[in-house]
């Protein structure tokens, strides 16, 4: 077996994780990103990694790739020029949206202008009813004339018709006509393919965004395939999706919007992998970088999936790993609000000028400065880093706010960390308590450069008692990529009342979904082994307008008969309702709104690379001693360890600091950290 490569492209660095599937040999690396053409950094970094570690790239079997090309094009508004064809009477829908203002009180904040200007939104006489029947058929002549109005300098066309999720014929007819008229030269996104679900604004918005990204993504993938094809002739290219799981390059070109949250999703997939190696099924992740922190909830080794989210101010309705983001990072700046209260973030000093202690001209106190003031960070900076941190600059930045608070600089720094932690705690509450999960039943898994520094305070605030720091917290995203399955999500939106008369319809729909999955397995050449399928429905009480996801069945091969009878389906819905809302009404009518099927083609899992820990190793040797502030007003003598020298079985008692290449982990007094068989650092919070 050859090498499997994971490549995660971030704003500053492109991370690499290489795994030899037969020897379980692992290598990691970082290379500066090349934002103008991300493929360049990928190819350069791979080249360096292969020469450093003697990896034969021509034998690589898979390159799994997390990309921010789509996300960045959205944020910077650098997508294609798009036309829209929609049902007569509804061209303003894209602009009206949900008729809400982005801020209740701020008169000057606006929703972003639609990506398709009004003059490029064209209306067609056609109508499908809420029952899926054609009320007004398309007249071919009018359609051809309308397509003639599409300005020739546009790159893509979104086709968004009402009720196309029930009956896609009209959208397909329009797409066909555009293809014919433009000789296949125009990118086309149709809403019944991009996301065939009800609620037109979110569907239209998602489809328009998809069309907007098609030209950019197509160009990027062609570029990448060209380079990768030369360097890694045998490697299959997989692109990470926002829902977790990979898709083929071809599908990424057709559905680029599915990569909108590709990067953070890879982090969560990586966290699931680490959770497996540590045998901890329930995890809350805390991925904290320079400007923001992403948090997610993992139950039974599965990340929760959400179906709606805003990216760059636009709503997207697609399955996505359920991640919440908060403006809390190492660079977050502390400031006084008008009412005299101290706030931290969301404004960040970023990488340039960066925190005051970087000595690059930053003058404002940041979270990183606070950690340095408390000696939790070493003045030498990160291990292997070439940038020393300057405590005197950090203290100088804190001086004015400490004076205003009449506090010591250390106390002020502690306060700033307390506030940034409370911001993250508030966000974690939205994905846990607000959904009925108590964090105390979960372990906290911090990663990213700044996660491990703050994990302990976050855990304590949420009554969590255990923290798991992965072996390479800075490279969890790239790690997640190599263990990703190929994955595709199918949905059929069809209201189906749960009574005996309707079961035939439901069986029919499940059969259709399974057919789609079979076609996908064949099309993606994913072989015949390691297939898995997961059937879910979105159901609700009749009259409600809010659905609950109900897991129905999963297995290697499902059949329509995997759909249980009506009584059992109702029971499953009641159980889901009870667990989410705390009650259910057994008398009321229940209906299914969406049928969902997830198909995965699994990859061969590498054997765990555990060193046998039969013999207790000798005590770890500290590198240095340093005075560090933890919870008391006075600093304590603290041992400093090098993570790379810690081996399975090693125990580190707090107070201690564990330094490594990509992060720093403080072990508080009375806490205890142990290195598990796979190198994860398991911290038990003591005295609680």
């Amino acid at each position: 077996m050859g090498w499997t490569l994971g490549v995660d492209v971030g704003g500053t660095f492109t991370d690499f994780y290489a795994l030899n599937e037969s020897t379980a040999e692992v290598h990691v690396g970082k290379w500066p990103s090349t934002p103008s053409n991300p493929a360049r950094a990928i190819l350069q970094g791979l080249d360096k990694l292969s020469r450093q570690h003697n990896i034969q790239l021509e034998k690589a079997v898979q390159l799994a790739h997390g990309t921010t090309v789509g996300t960045n094009a959205l944020i910077q508004r650098k997508g294609g020029k798009v036309a829209l064809i929609t049902t007569r009477g509804f061209r303003d829908l894209l602009e009206i949206g949900r008729q809400i203002r982005p801020h209740m009180y701020d008169l000057n904040q606006d929703n972003p202008p639609p990506l398709v200007p009004r003059e490029h939104r064209l209306e067609l006489d056609e109508r499908v009813s809420a029952g899926g029947e054609v009320l007004t058929a398309i007249e071919q002549e009018q359609l051809d004339e309308l397509i003639g109005f599409i300005s020739p300098d546009l790159d893509a066309c979104a086709v968004c018709l009402l009720f196309s999720f029930l009956n896609p014929d009209h959208e397909q007819q329009v797409a066909q006509a555009i293809r014919k008229k433009t000789n296949g030269k125009m990118h086309i996104s149709i809403s019944s393919e991009v996301q065939p679900e009800f609620r037109e604004y979110e569907r239209f918005s998602t489809t328009v965004l998809n069309a907007y990204l098609q030209p950019v993504m197509t160009e990027y993938i062609e570029h990448l395939q060209h380079g990768v094809g030369a360097a890694l002739p045998r490697a299959k290219l997989g692109i990470n999706q926002s829902a977790g799981g990979l898709m083929s390059a071809q599908r990424a070109r057709s559905f680029p919007i599915r990569t909108a949250l590709s990067g953070p999703a890879a982090g969560v997939v990586g966290a699931v992998y680490v959770a497996n190696t540590a045998s901890r099924p329930n995890i809350i992740t805390l991925d904290m970088g320079g400007t923001s922190a992403d948090v997610a909830l993992i139950r039974d080794y599965r990340a929760d999936v959400a179906y709606e989210r805003e990216v760059a101010g636009f709503p997207i309705r697609l399955p996505m790993v359920d991640i919440e983001t908060v403006g809390a990072g190492g660079g977050s700046i502390a400031w006084f609000d008008r009412d005299g209260l101290l706030k931290v973030g969301p404004v960040s000093a970023g990488a340039d000028p960066g925190p005051a202690c970087y000595g690059r001209g930053g003058l404002q106190p940041t979270v990183t400065d606070a950690n340095l003031v408390l000696n939790r960070l070493s003045t030498a900076g990160l291990l292997g880093g070439d940038m020393a941190l300057q405590t005197n600059l950090a203290r100088a930045a804190f001086e004015p706010i400490a004076r205003k608070l009449s506090c010591s600089i250390e106390k002020t720094a502690e306060g700033v960390l307390g506030i940034v932690v409370s911001n993250m705690v508030r966000t974690i509450r939205t994905i846990s308590v607000e959904r009925g999960y108590d964090p105390k039943n979960f372990s906290l898994m911090p990663f990213g450069g700044a996660g491990p520094l703050h994990a302990r305070d976050v855990a304590v605030a949420l009554n969590m008692t255990e923290i798991i720091v992965p072996t390479t917290p800075g490279i969890v995203c790239a790690q997640g990529l190599i263990v990703s399955d190929m994955q595709e999500d199918f949905v059929i939106s069809q209201r189906t009342l749960l009574d005996e008369g309707q079961t035939a319809d439901a069986l029919q729909i499940v059969a259709q979904l399974l057919q789609q999955a079979r076609a996908w397995f064949a099309q993606e050449h994913v072989g015949t082994t390691n297939h898995s399928l997961e059937l879910r429905v979105d159901a609700r009480y009749v009259g409600q307008n809010f659905e609950l996801e109900v897991p129905i069945a999963q297995g290697t091969a499902l059949s329509p008969a995997s759909l249980p009878g009506v009584d059992r389906l109702r029971e499953l819905f009641f159980a889901a309702h009870e667990s989410t809302y705390g009650y259910f009404n057994p008398e009321d009518a229940v209906e299914i709104v969406n049928f969902r099927l997830t198909a995965r083609a699994g990859r061969v899992r590498p054997a765990a690379a555990g060193t046998s820990a039969g013999v207790k190793p000798a005590k770890p040797v500290r590198e240095a001693l340093r005075e560090v502030y933890f919870e008391d007003d006075r600093p304590v003598q603290t041992s400093i360890y090098d993570r790379q020298k810690l081996i399975p079985g090693h125990v580190v008692e707090g107070p201690a600091i564990i330094d490594q290449l990509d992060t720093t982990t403080p072990i508080f007094p009375a806490d205890r950290a142990e290195v598990d068989a796979l190198g994860n650092l398991i911290i038990q919070i003591g005295g609680r």
Binding site: L93, R338, L341
Partner: protein, 562 residues
């Protein structure tokens, strides 16, 4: 109040915890409610009040108009029950005249929270129920002339007594409304949100001491008051006057003036509404606390949009509105359509402050809360249905930007119902949902545009009730900007001809061959049209938002510009 004594860091962290509680209860109420109006349109709010009834924290998505109901309810509750408040009680109320409400469909609940056997505060929520009984489906139609016609009046009463549901009361509440099963679901969602909130507040009380939390409540309110006073002090002192005119009360009163004399002196602001019309027979009347909420909104939007919403704001806003007038109505004034008047109060405040803060104000918005209610019997199921929606419109031109098109204005920000949801849920067909051409007032920065929705019943006859405002008195412009278009209700006959309906039509029968057309008002422009840039005029034309004729009429250049 005293100078701050609490550590601002610890206070910020506790405040963060309190905001979490209101946001969590808000989300819980959204999720577990039954009705579309709450689940999808989020017409609800949650809050924490202290034991003397002062608002401390409101959910970030809470609606401005609801701030008043909660404070109003607390005042009545404490007056009525005083020492007889027990753990496990949940109070319910909606009446504007005896229980601090602003209109009947907004049902308030309040749940006392105790620690160390003393009352610490209340968790409250408020939800707009899609029907509360009365003569018209939806309880929001125009034409009602007494509070009794508008629905069930609930004084402050206990729905739960020491943890026990008062089933008799619940039965009474449900018997008096249309579609009781949906109402029951919404009531229980509100109850669940109360319980969740009180549990969370108790957790906070366990973590801190009761004394600390109580003084934090004081601090939060004090700091907010100081913050707002500081920005008021920065505004120029002076006495500013403005007047606007409401179209009608839906019965027999037309051209109803709202008059404001606004004085700023150092860090105080005083709103004097003397000279405003007497309360009207129709239901556009406003109770005092809704007037207060509207004035607070306007001040906050202009001066400090991020100032937290709590009692600290209410303490700054001094109001004189004589009893028995439109803005301080007395029993038995009907009030269902009060939102229109509240919107107009905001416009009037902006108009007055245009003289003081020309670089901040915006021109008149659509000034309405255009309401459309379709009701009937679904021919597919034989069951009653009721579809209520309030539509947005334009927001006025701004000192450096055009106004906003087709959004909810000012005191409300509820979302629309998707067309596909409407048609799947109700036997109705939406033919069009668009911006009204030429509806934004001309100006250097033009006003926002109104919305147009065309709806017809499928295979049955339905009834239509509506409430419109600024259907006659157009949204005015500022600094030379022109007025935006007014709104209208139309009925389209089977032959395709349209006929204008009343501005507050009641019980209009619509057949399957007819259709109702709702057009909401646009908004006023800001600055003289002759200063509008060529690029903007070109965009107005290319986008088709404005007709050539309109552009010709309003932006024809003076000869020396040619």
């Amino acid at each position: 109040m005293d100078k701050p004594v609490l550590d601002p860091i610890k206070l910020e962290i506790l405040w963060n915890g309190l905001r979490s509680i209101t946001d969590e209860t808000f989300a819980a109420l959204t999720r577990s409610a039954y009705s579309t109006n709450i689940k999808e349109r989020r017409d609800h709010s949650t809050a924490i009040m202290d034991r003397s009834g002062r608002l401390v924290v409101q959910a970030s998505q809470a609606l401005p108009i609801h701030i008043a109901s909660m404070s109003g309810l607390m005042a009545c509750l404490l007056r009525k029950f005083g020492d007889a408040i027990n753990e496990g009680d949940i109070f319910v109320a909606n009446d504007p005249h005896t229980a601090g409400g602003t209109h009947l469909p907004d049902v308030n609940m309040a749940c006392p929270v105790f620690a160390d056997r003393q009352l610490v505060g209340f968790v409250c929520n408020i939800a707009h129920h899609a029907d509360i009984g009365g003569i018209a489906p939806g309880s929001m139609a125009g034409g009602m002339s007494e509070i009794f016609q508008e629905g069930l009046r609930i004084p402050v009463i206990r729905l739960f007594r020491k943890g026990e549901l008062q089933q008799d009361i619940m039965d009474l509440l449900l018997l008096n409304v249309r579609i009781p099963e949906e109402r029951r679901g919404d009531y229980f969602a509100q109850i669940a949100a109360c319980r969740l909130g009180s549990q969370r507040l108790r957790e906070v009380l366990d973590e801190y001491t009761v004394g600390f939390v109580l003084s934090a409540f004081d601090q939060i309110i004090w700091r907010t008051e100081q913050r707002l006073r500081q920005v008021i002090a920065e505004a120029p002192d002076g006495v500013y006057r403005f007047e606007d005119v409401m179209d009608s009360d839906g019965i027999d009163t037309f051209d109803i003036p709202i008059r404001l004399t606004l004085s700023i002196k150092q860090d105080t602001v005083h709103f004097d509404f003397s000279g405003t019309a007497q309360q009207t027979p129709g239901n556009i009347n406003v109770t005092m606390n809704a007037t207060q909420a509207s004035a607070c909104y306007a001040l906050k939007a202009l001066l400090d949009p991020d100032v937290p919403n709590n009692e600290g704001i209410l303490r700054v806003v001094e109001i004189n509105a004589p009893k028995g007038t439109l803005l301080n109505a007395s029993f038995p004034a009907p009030v269902a359509a009060r939102a229109h008047t509240c919107q107009r109060i905001v416009d009037v405040v902006f108009g007055a402050l245009a003289q003081a803060l020309p670089e901040r104000v915006v021109a008149a918005a659509n000034g309405a809360n255009t309401t459309a209610v379709f009701a009937g019997i679904d021919p597919r199921s034989g069951r009653h249905y009721l579809y209520l929606e309030t539509l947005g419109g334009g927001i006025g031109g701004r000192p450096a930007k055009d106004g906003k098109d087709g959004v909810q204005a000012h005191i409300t920000n509820t979302s629309n119902l998707p067309v596909e949801a409407i048609e799947m849920e109700y036997p109705l067909l939406v033919e069009e949902y668009s911006l009204v051409t030429d509806s934004g007032g001309a100006g250097e920065f033009r006003g926002g545009m109104g919305l147009r929705r065309v709806v017809r019943p499928v295979d049955h006859r339905c009834t239509f009730n509506g409430v419109g405002e600024r259907f006659k008195h157009q949204p005015w412009g500022l600094q030379g900007g022109q007025a935006g278009a007014s709104g209208r209700f139309l009925i389209r006959e089977s032959n395709g001809e349209t006929r204008r309906l009343d501005d507050k039509p009641a019980e209009v029968i619509v057949s399957a061959e007819q259709a109702i057309i709702v057009e909401t008002p646009g908004a006023g422009g800001y600055g003289a049209p002759r200063n509008r840039s060529r690029e903007k005029i070109m965009l107005d034309r290319i986008s088709g938002k404005f007709s050539d004729a309109y552009i010709e009429e309003h932006y024809r250049r003076q000869p020396h510009h040619e």
